[in-house]
């Protein structure tokens, strides 16, 4: 992909990246893409744990075999339980948090309801050394303004017993996403970032839209997305250079 070099990629000093956010903000798509990106660019092992106990469909576990081909290990319930929407957290998740090995991405369910699972794992986490990242989509009804987003953030912090360390700006409208949608979202994420005093760690958007944009306008690292959690009638976009 020719556009890749134009953008600064996201970088993390911590081994554990916890992806949370409002319901339907795009956590799973971001998690899957982040895992794929790290697997391609770093020599360290990458593990993704699907901790979504809220959604029945469109979960990162659906991309498990896709990720396996890139060497990413998925921690998901086995057997029939992979299809359940039950609060199942397999024991391996706790082990991975205690000893991540390489990078561990935790894809957590939406809102405070989804984030509650972190509270039950709280004791396994080291005192520092993890990132709690808010996925922010300003086109979602309950995070479309500053007030609503701050409310969701404080509810997630309360339920998880953790503090935010970063914001992922992921504003989109699925197929109707334009550069304008992305930039308006970035503006709103900046406002959240300034008020909550939490930095924006990266912006994520689909490659097709990013390629139409002036990189100068985006003053943060960027994760280009190749959509992986598709609707049954959608076909995967050709990935280019991979």
């Amino acid at each position: 992909m020719s556009g890749k070099t134009r953008f600064t990629p996201p970088q993390f000093s911590n081994k554990i990246l916890i992806i949370v956010g409002g319901f339907g903000s795009g956590k799973s798509e971001v998690s899957v893409n982040l895992a794929a990106y790290l697997a391609r660019t770093s020599s360290e092992a990458v593990t993704i744990a699907d901790l979504d106990v809220i959604n029945p469909y469109f979960r990162s576990r659906e991309a498990a075999s896709q990720l396996a081909s890139l060497g990413v290990k998925s921690l998901i319930p086995g057997g029939e339980n992979v299809h359940a929407d039950l609060p199942i957290v397999i024991p391996e998740v706790k082990g991975a948090i205690e000893e991540p090995g390489g990078t561990l991405i935790l894809d957590v369910g939406g809102d405070d309801l989804g984030a509650r699972v972190l509270s039950s794992l709280r004791d396994a986490f080291p005192a520092t050394g993890y990132d709690l990242l808010l996925t922010h989509n300003a086109n979602r009804p309950f995070t479309s303004d500053l007030e609503g987003t701050l409310k969701v953030m404080s509810e997630i912090e309360g339920a998880s017993r953790m503090k935010f360390t970063g914001i992922i700006c992921n504003t989109h409208l699925m197929k109707d996403t334009t550069s304008e949608v992305v930039l308006t979202g970035l503006k709103q994420s900046r406002e959240v970032s300034a008020t909550a005093n939490v930095p924006i760690v990266f912006l994520s958007a689909v490659t097709e839209v990013l390629e139409t944009m002036d990189p100068e306008l985006i003053d943060c690292p960027i994760l280009p997305l190749n959509r992986s959690l598709l609707k049954p009638w959608e076909r995967q976009a050709p990935t280019g250079g991979n």
Partner: protein, 372 residues
């Protein structure tokens, strides 16, 4: 209004509020629980009623009672929960009460699974409860259409004083798409409810809302009134959509809901390969668009009609009935929560065409015999 990104369940919930259905009763069940989640937050903002009951049996009867007051009432559930509501639905149809019921269908029978299905077609269209009654049943295929049809459902329920059901496979509830809500929503005028609604009998004669008629002549009269309403629906409320139907079509697909969108992908891709296929998508599955389907299916070049469903074949019976043996009707479906892939459907169509052409050269006599 600007577009927002919403999950189907949330969008339908918001649409109900916009249409003034501010009385919502529910019991949670996957894959429709987000409707309740959303309305638990939104109803207090609009001064509406949100009540989670102890079971779907209770929900059905609360809806029955609430609908008697003439207020707009809305409930949602998924397959097993809808089964539990059937008694109340039959009572409401009998007592001529309006309400809107959403069924986000999952795999069945029994508890089944939690993945998308369309296997409640019989239940929705043929009467899940007892007695001579029908529901007006709408089947959206996009989230925007789910919004529009939810608002329409509220209107039609009042217009016919009959329960209206919206059926969506699990995908309609769970997927996210950008939607827009109408800026200024105005409904066509409706007759006053102040001839039948239980609004307090102070200063007037009490009104009785019931489905019990011990006198068989009165019970028959009531069924005739209902029957006449359904005949009216057949005249005025039939809705469907055509996609790439033309005189070149060899095959006509009949499919509804999100299954129709998978078929659209198939049709687009086959078109590029030089194979012409059209789609007939019923939007009202009761009343079923019989006459329109018959017309489309019996075009000169169409060899085969293929019904594609996320079930073992339920709508296919209505398709056969509409076409009345004038074309062969084939069926393809997956069930239990498995959503057919575009490739599977495509393969099926190619095989049908191959079979047809093979049959033409090899067994022309048998074919003409069949035709006669």
């Amino acid at each position: 209004m600007a577009k927002v990104l919403m999950k189907g369940n949330e969008a339908i919930a918001e649409a109900a509020i916009r249409a003034g259905a501010n009385n919502y009763f529910c019991y949670p069940i996957t894959p429709q629980t987000e409707v309740a989640e959303y309305l638990a937050k939104r109803m207090p903002e609009v001064g509406g009623v949100f009540l989670q009951a102890e079971s779907e049996v209770a929900v059905g009867n609360i809806v029955f009672g609430a609908a008697s007051t003439g207020k707009r009432v809305f409930t949602t559930s998924s397959s097993p929960g809808i089964s539990l509501m059937q008694e109340a639905i039959s009572y409401m149809a009998g007592a001529q009460l309006p309400c809107v019921i959403l069924n986000i269908m999952r795999g069945g029978p029994g508890l089944g699974g939690i993945l998308p299905a369309q296997s409640d077609y019989f239940q929705a269209t043929k009467g899940g409860g007892h007695g001579d009654y029908r529901l007006l049943v709408l089947a959206p295929s996009t989230i925007q259409e789910a919004v529009d049809l939810t608002m329409l459902a509220c209107h039609l329920a009042d217009k016919y004083r009959n329960p209206v059901m919206i059926i969506g496979d699990g995908m309609i509830g769970q997927m996210m798409e950008p939607v827009e809500f109408p800026e200024n929503y105005t409904e066509p005028e409706l007759p006053t409810k102040d001839t039948w609604a239980a609004t307090g009998a102070k200063g007037r004669k009490p009104r009785v809302i019931k489905s019990l008629f011990l006198d068989p002549y009165k019970l028959e009269d009531n069924s005739v009134v209902l029957y006449n309403k359904y005949q009216q629906m057949k005249k005025d409320e039939v809705r469907f959509e055509l996609y790439k139907t033309s005189t070149k079509n060899k095959v006509l697909i009949v499919s509804y809901g999100t299954m129709a969108r998978i078929c659209q992908t198939v049709i687009d891709e086959l078109e590029e390969e030089g194979v012409s296929v059209g789609l007939f998508r019923p939007i009202t599955v009761y009343p079923f668009p019989e006459a329109a389907l018959e017309k489309e299916a019996t075009r000169k070049n169409i060899d085969t009609v293929l019904t594609v469903e996320m079930s073992m074949g339920q709508m296919v019976e209505d398709v056969e009935r509409a076409i009345a043996r004038r074309r062969p009707v084939e069926f393809f479906g997956r069930t239990g929560g498995i959503v057919p892939t575009p490739d599977e459907v495509k393969k099926q169509i190619k095989e049908l065409i191959k079979k047809k052409h093979g049959a033409k050269t090899r067994q022309s006599t048998t074919k003409s015999k069949k035709k006669g």
